[in-house]
């Protein structure tokens, strides 16, 4: 069901092609390095639809909606997903929820809106059949706290391997594996122990995992924009060298990297897939990602009174998205200052287009065998600020309560 081929490489960075057969009429192919489409409960935040691709579908969004999911019997139909959308059924939304403590030998606690909910092997197998994803991330012990040592790292590897084995068995028994079943994206855990990371990799390779998802680096209470690749890169070095030699190549997915320079660096290390959550993260903070840095900054805070006079130009002259083609920067500023929902919608369109352009740029650089160092330097200043630093667009729920005349 999944075919991953590498067409070119530059150093350890590689250009790849991920093909998923979503049935005979809707094959999906994705160029890598690429990104999964961030969404919540089947919807891109703020957008009615987005380009074709692989929808990142974290289970933690659905654990408090099991009655509905079971009633509907089919997640794709429930969410009215278009046929050209493929799914990666993952564990936790990396943008909003931190991996929270709560793993036993029997279950993994996932965060939901109504508190922690347990995910067991049996439940995940049932939900996999209800969802029919092309890719699934079997449950794993992804928990990490600052100060956790080798012992904890070993336990996370052992538990995750046990979950992996039991999940594949459960899926087989329920008829969910084999020719038509999902490809398995195994969680690559092992904390900050290089030895455990290597051990985990070897064990997953021997089990024939179709792909790998890097987990267990971001501390459970660490905000997403605080997490940098430099925090964990050295732990992975040896294991990545081993990974590079393995055949056939398997796609490597590193979720939770939001800073463009980190994405570039991770691509340089050989990673292929990233979560496309940056547009949502920027949009909820009222930030637009510009085509070129202006005044030293890549981001423009659109809810700025000074921008109301910008009636003669779009948000970003270098961008062809609908927001930049149809509206002036003044209008966008006015909408966001007025707390209008349309501000988020237009900003999200722009930021989504910008992310797509960024990945095009990344792939072009690899293809032309340019050193990615130059690209990393270009985007070094594109650092997502913490929430407190920027006044966000009003939280949508708060906005919905705002009763106007």
């Amino acid at each position: 069901i999944m075919r991953f081929t590498v067409s070119a490489s530059s150093g350890r960075a590689r250009l790849g092609h991920l093909a998923l057969s979503g049935g005979p009429d809707h094959p999906v192919a994705m160029a890598t390095p690429g990104y999964l489409i961030y969404n919540r409960c089947g919807s891109d935040p703020h957008l009615p639809q987005s380009p074709a691709g692989i929808l990142l579908t974290p289970l933690n969004h659905w654990l408090d909606k099991l009655a509905l999911l079971r009633q509907a019997g089919n997640l794709r139909q429930l969410c009215r997903l278009r046929p050209d959308r493929q799914l990666l059924l993952s564990l936790t939304d990396h943008l909003d929820y931190y991996p929270t403590p709560g793993v036993t030998a029997q279950h993994v606690g996932l965060p939901t809106r109504s508190g922690k909910a347990p995910l067991t092997v049996e439940l995940q197998a049932e939900l996999t059949l209800l969802t029919s994803p092309e890719l699934v991330q079997p449950l794993a012990d992804c928990e990490i706290r600052e100060g956790d040592g080798r012992k904890r790292a070993r336990k996370s590897v052992d538990r995750s391997l046990a979950f992996y084995d039991r999940f594949t068995t459960a899926l087989e028994q329920q008829g969910g594996l084999g020719g038509g079943g999902p490809a398995l994206m195994a969680s690559w855990v092992g904390g900050y122990s290089a030895e455990e990371r290597l051990r985990c990799l070897r064990e997953l390779e021997s089990r024939g995992a179709d792909g790998l998802v890097v987990e267990g680096f971001r501390y459970y209470n660490q905000p997403v924009e605080d997490f940098r690749l430099a925090q964990c890169e050295s732990v992975l070095t040896e294991a990545l060298q081993q990974q590079q030699r393995s055949q056939p190549p398997r796609p490597l997915y590193f979720p939770g990297l939001v800073h463009p320079a980190d994405i570039i660096r991770a691509a340089e290390l050989g990673f292929d897939l990233f979560d496309g959550s940056l547009p949502a993260l920027l949009t909820r903070r009222g930030l637009a990602w510009l085509t070129s840095a202006t005044g030293g900054s890549w981001w423009l805070h659109v809810g700025d009174v000074e921008l109301l006079t910008a009636t003669d130009r779009p948000l970003d002259p270098g961008c062809c998205c609908r927001c930049c083609r149809q509206f002036s920067l003044s209008y966008l500023a006015h909408l966001s200052l007025s707390n209008e929902i349309l501000a988020s919608i237009l900003l999200m369109e722009h930021n989504s287009a910008r992310l797509a352009a960024f990945f095009n740029e990344l792939r072009s650089a690899i293809e032309s065998a340019e050193s990615l160092g130059g690209l990393a330097t270009k985007y070094a200043a594109a650092v997502v600020p913490p929430t407190a630093a920027v006044a966000p667009l009003a939280n949508d729920q708060a906005r919905l309560k705002d009763d106007e005349a």
């Binding site: 703020h46 009633q71 349309l342």
Partner: protein, 417 residues
């Protein structure tokens, strides 16, 4: 004070196509600079230059050809080619004078003969709005139809203030008409005032009807007054206003209000209902309303209304899934879909009324509407029953009856005009 030149060509042509043989309802084509609009018409409200979670493309696709727009950044629009370009809305626009919003939103407000002084709800500075300034701003916005600045009084106000406001509004109308710098591109509607007092209303009506204007608005009637008085005032106004010009009832209303007031002779309406209720997860359907966030819809996999042709219902989005989206933080899709559905519902209601007028079946449509909304006839709101009876429709007997005329205070059988 000079009046508008009586030979000025209006940028509005109102051609009545069909009149109901029983009630005062009629359907017409209203030609405006940016669109031809079929009446009776419901105008969605995009107060701050956008229609809550719906883009102008989506609104246009639903068949909307005129909407209410307004904005606080008025100076900017004069230099950027008006609100049409700013919002990317190619069809017709109607703007309010800014008076009502400012008065209702600001904390302090002083009215004198010159104009209104208030604190801006936007950034707290003190602003002065005069009739001339309101028209200057509305000329900059460029809407097809502008509203006069009137001295707004809440419908619950009684006493000499009501008369003062009504008379001042007439003087302000003349100042607005004189100040219109674009009379061949933008027309101006006066607003009938006088509170709930029929004598004051008649004074206002007579004064306004003698001005050379393209249409009329009826104001001061969306503030929670008793419905039994509401409909009598509406009827008083529609009976006295020129038949060949459009009548716009401001701030109205619920589907029920629309049906009754069309029967009374109103042509144009506006209300935040469809967009506001969408934000609270309420869907409009022929049978009433669905509160989607309630438990009963948690696993309801039906579309909001399988008879509806809006993108939400034809797209197969279920009530349960919409409820899920509405409760999810940081997701606007639920709000967008529900807004589209509610606006489509209102536009479709008007479309059905227009068609029934063309087919000569308006009374039947009215009865059918009530049967859907109120399965039990004893639940029919009394005011609606009376109002329709006064224009010849008996909801309860199922047959049209002789029209009657009623005074605002409820005393009946004054000779029919």
């Amino acid at each position: 004070m000079s009046m508008a030149t009586s030979n000025a060509a209006y940028p509005l042509k109102f051609n009545i196509i069909s009149k109901c043989g029983t009630t005062a309802a009629r359907t017409a084509k209203m030609q405006l600079p940016h669109a031809t609009v079929d009446t009776p018409v419901f105008m969605p409200v995009g107060t701050k230059g956008s229609l809550k979670a719906l883009t102008t493309d989506e609104l246009s696709k639903l068949g909307c050809r005129i909407m209410l727009g307004n904005t606080y950044h008025l100076e900017i629009l004069s230099s950027s080619g008006g609100l049409h370009g700013y919002m990317h809305w190619p069809h017709a626009l109607l703007t309010d004078s800014g008076g009502f919003q400012m008065v209702s939103l600001s904390k302090l407000c002083n009215i004198d003969e010159g104009g209104v002084t208030f604190t801006s709800p936007y950034d707290g500075t003190e602003l002065r709005l005069t009739p001339e300034e309101s028209i200057r701003i509305q000329n900059g916005i460029g809407a097809d139809i502008m509203m006069q600045l009137d001295d707004v009084v809440h419908s619950s106000t009684t006493g000499p203030r009501v008369k003062e406001a009504m008379e001042r509004s007439i003087r302000w109308l003349d100042r607005c008409l004189a100040a219109n710098a674009r009379p061949t591109q933008q027309c101006l509607f006066p607003i009938v005032q006088g509170g709930l007092d029929s004598d004051l209303r008649i004074q206002s009506l007579d004064a306004l009807a003698s001005r050379d204007v393209a249409g009329f608005a009826i104001g001061g009637l969306s503030g929670g007054e008793a419905k039994s008085t509401f409909w009598r005032i509406v009827k008083l106004c529609t009976e006295r206003l020129p038949a060949g010009k459009p009548r716009y009832l401001m701030g109205v209303g619920l589907p029920l209000d629309l049906v009754v007031c069309v029967a009374l002779g109103v042509d144009m309406f506006d209300c935040v209902l469809p967009t506001r209720t969408a934000r609270f997860g309420v869907a409009l359907v022929p049978e009433g309303q669905l509160q989607l966030k309630k438990r009963q819809f948690e696993t309801d996999l039906r579309p909001i209304d399988d008879r509806c042709s809006c993108p939400c219902c034809t797209g197969g989005y279920s009530r349960a899934y919409l409820a899920t989206l509405l409760k999810e933080d940081g997701v606007t899709l639920g709000c967008s879909l529900l807004t589209a559905h509610n606006v489509a519902y209102m536009l479709n209601l008007m479309s059905e009324m227009r068609q029934s007028l063309v087919d000569g079946k308006f009374s039947e449509f009215v009865r059918h509407f009530f049967r859907l909304q109120y399965p039990n006839p004893t639940d029919y709101p009394e005011w609606a029953v009376e109002a329709l009876k006064s224009v010849g429709v008996s909801l309860l007997s199922g047959e049209d009856v002789k029209k009657s005329s009623c005074n605002v205070d409820g005393s009946g059988d004054v000779e029919v005009k």
